[in-house]
C-alpha cells in the first residue's frame, strides 16, 4: 500500500467531511466523517463521529469518539470515551477511560484501566483488567488477569490461567457502597484463582477459591483449595 502520496484529513472546530483514504485523520473539535475511512493514523481529540467503518494502523481516542461501524486497527488507545457500534479487530487494545463495543472484540492484548462494555464475545491472548467490565458473551484469553474494582460481569470465562483478585478500594469510606464482585455463569481453565467471584460452575485442573466467593459447583482434576470465607455448594473431583 502506497500511503506516502495520500493526503491528510483535518477537522478543527466544527465540520464534517466524507471518508476515503488518508494518511492521517485528525479530529479536533466536533467533527463528523460520513463514510468509511482507511488511514494510517486516526486521532480523535474532541468529539468525533464516523458514520462508517474505520481501517487504520494506529487509532487514538482522547475525547469522545464514536464509530458507527467496525474498527480494524493494529493499536487502539482510548483515553476518553470510545464507542464502536460493531466489531473491533485489534492487536493491541488499551483503555484508560471508557470503551463500549456493540459487537465482538478480537485482540491479541487487552489492557484496561477504566470501563469496558462488550456486547458479544471478547477474545484475546492476554486480558488484563483493573476495572469495571461487562461482557455479554464469552471472555477468553490465554491469560486472564483481573483486579476487581467494581461490579464486573461476563457470561462465561475460559482460558489457560484465570486469576481474579480483589483490589481493596482506596477510599475505605465508599467500600460498602460499591460492590466489588465478578458475576459469571461458568469459568473454565487449567489454573484458576478466584476472589470475590460469584459463579454457577467452575471447572479446571488446579483451582483456588479465595475469600468472598459464591460458587455453585466446582469440578477439578488435580487440586482444590477453598478459603474459609468462601461458600462452595458442591465440589467433586473428576
Amino acid at each position: 500500500m502506497d500511503t506516502k502520496k495520500r493526503g491528510d484529513l483535518n477537522i478543527n472546530g466544527f465540520g464534517s467531511a466524507n471518508g476515503g483514504q488518508f494518511h492521517q485523520v485528525t479530529i479536533k473539535g466536533k467533527g463528523t466523517v460520513n463514510s468509511d475511512i482507511e488511514c494510517v493514523v486516526f486521532d480523535c481529540n474532541g468529539s468525533g463521529t464516523v458514520n462508517g467503518n474505520v481501517i487504520t494502523n494506529k487509532a487514538k481516542v482522547n475525547g469522545n469518539g464514536k464509530i458507527k461501524g467496525h474498527l480494524e486497527c493494529k493499536m487502539l488507545t482510548v483515553d476518553g470515551t470510545a464507542k464502536i457500534e460493531n466489531n473491533l479487530n485489534v492487536e493491541n487494545f488499551k483503555v484508560a477511560g471508557k470503551a463500549s463495543i456493540g459487537g465482538r472484540v478480537k485482540a491479541e492484548e487487552i489492557s484496561i484501566k477504566g470501563r469496558l462494555t462488550v456486547e458479544g464475545d471478547c477474545e484475546a491472548d492476554s486480558f488484563k483488567a483493573e476495572s469495571h467490565f461487562m461482557i455479554g458473551g464469552l471472555l477468553t484469553a490465554d491469560h486472564v488477569d483481573i483486579k476487581l474494582f467494581g461490579e464486573c460481569k461476563a457470561k462465561e470465562i475460559g482460558g489457560q490461567t484465570i486469576l481474579i483478585n480483589h483490589k481493596p478500594a482506596l477510599m475505605g469510606l465508599f467500600k460498602h457502597f460499591i460492590q466489588t464482585q465478578l458475576e459469571t455463569e461458568l469459568i473454565e481453565g487449567d489454573k484458576i484463582e478466584l476472589e470475590n467471584t460469584k459463579a454457577a460452575v467452575v471447572r479446571g485442573n488446579q483451582i483456588t477459591i479465595g475469600a468472598n466467593c459464591e460458587i455453585g459447583l466446582v469440578e477439578y482434576t488435580d487440586e482444590l483449595s477453598v478459603d474459609k470465607k468462601a461458600t462452595v455448594k458442591d465440589s467433586r473431583k473428576v
Partner: protein
C-alpha cells in the same frame, strides 16, 4: 443428522488437551463456532461437540501444528478461500489433477488456463470422482455444471455434493448447510462429497 455428541470434559480427556488449548484453538477459528453446542444438563449448562468431527479436527491440529503456525492452520480450515491462483500446468505438475482430466475439464468448461480457487476445486472434484470410477463422463459434466452455477454459494457455505442414480437415470444435487437428505426407495446414492473437506485436501496438497 443425529450425530453422536461428546461433552467438553470427555473431549479434553480423550484428546489429552487442556482447557487453555481448546479455547486458544477456538479463538484462532480452528474449531468452528457451530460445533459448540450448548445443552442444559442436571449440573447446569454444558458444552457438547459433534464427536467424530471434533476428534478428527483435533487430531489434524495436533499432527500439523508441529510444522505450521496456528494462523496457517486457521487458513487451512476456514472455508473462506485463500488467494490461490495457479495455471493448468502447475496443477498437473503438482499432481492435483491428471492431464487427462484437465483436458476434459478445459474442453467442457471452456475457460482460460488461469485457475482460481473455485475452478481448482471443480477440477479437483472431477478428478477425484472420475479416477475412483464412481461416475462416468456424462455425470462428470453434469456435476461440473452444478458446481459452476453455484460458485458464489460454495465459497461461503458448507456445501455437499450428492449424485444419485435411479433406473439408470442420474441426477446431481448440491446441498447447502443441509442437515440430512432422504431419497425415495431404490435411489442409489453414488457419491456424497463434502466440498469443505475437498478444499482442505487441496490446501493440504498445495502447502
Amino acid at each position: 443428522m443425529s450425530e453422536e455428541l461428546i461433552s467438553k470434559k470427555e473431549l479434553l480427556d480423550i484428546a489429552g488437551i487442556s482447557y487453555g488449548q481448546l479455547y486458544r484453538w477456538k479463538r484462532k477459528d480452528l474449531i468452528p463456532e457451530e460445533w459448540f453446542i450448548r445443552k442444559s444438563t442436571f449440573t447446569g449448562q454444558e458444552t457438547f461437540f459433534p464427536k467424530e468431527k471434533i476428534l478428527e479436527r483435533i487430531d489434524k491440529i495436533q499432527t500439523m501444528k508441529e510444522n505450521l503456525s496456528l494462523d496457517e492452520l486457521a487458513d487451512m480450515f476456514s472455508p473462506n478461500v485463500t488467494e490461490l491462483h495457479l495455471t493448468n500446468d502447475e496443477l498437473v505438475k503438482r499432481n492435483i489433477v491428471s492431464s487427462a482430466v484437465m483436458d476434459l475439464y478445459l474442453k467442457t468448461e471452456m475457460g482460460g488456463q488461469h485457475f482460481e480457487f473455485s475452478r481448482i476445486l471443480e477440477v479437483f472434484v472431477l478428478e477425484k470422482l472420475l479416477q475412483s470410477g464412481e461416475i462416468n463422463l456424462d455425470e462428470g459434466k453434469m456435476l461440473l455444471q452444478v458446481l459452476k452455477d453455484n460458485r458464489g454459494l460454495i465459497k461461503q457455505k458448507n456445501g455437499e455434493l450428492v449424485l444419485t442414480r435411479k433406473l439408470g437415470v442420474s441426477s446431481c444435487l448440491l446441498l447447502i448447510n443441509a442437515e440430512d437428505v432422504k431419497f425415495e426407495q431404490g435411489t442409489k446414492i453414488v457419491v456424497q462429497l463434502s466440498l469443505v473437506k475437498c478444499m482442505e485436501e487441496i490446501k493440504a496438497n498445495l502447502l
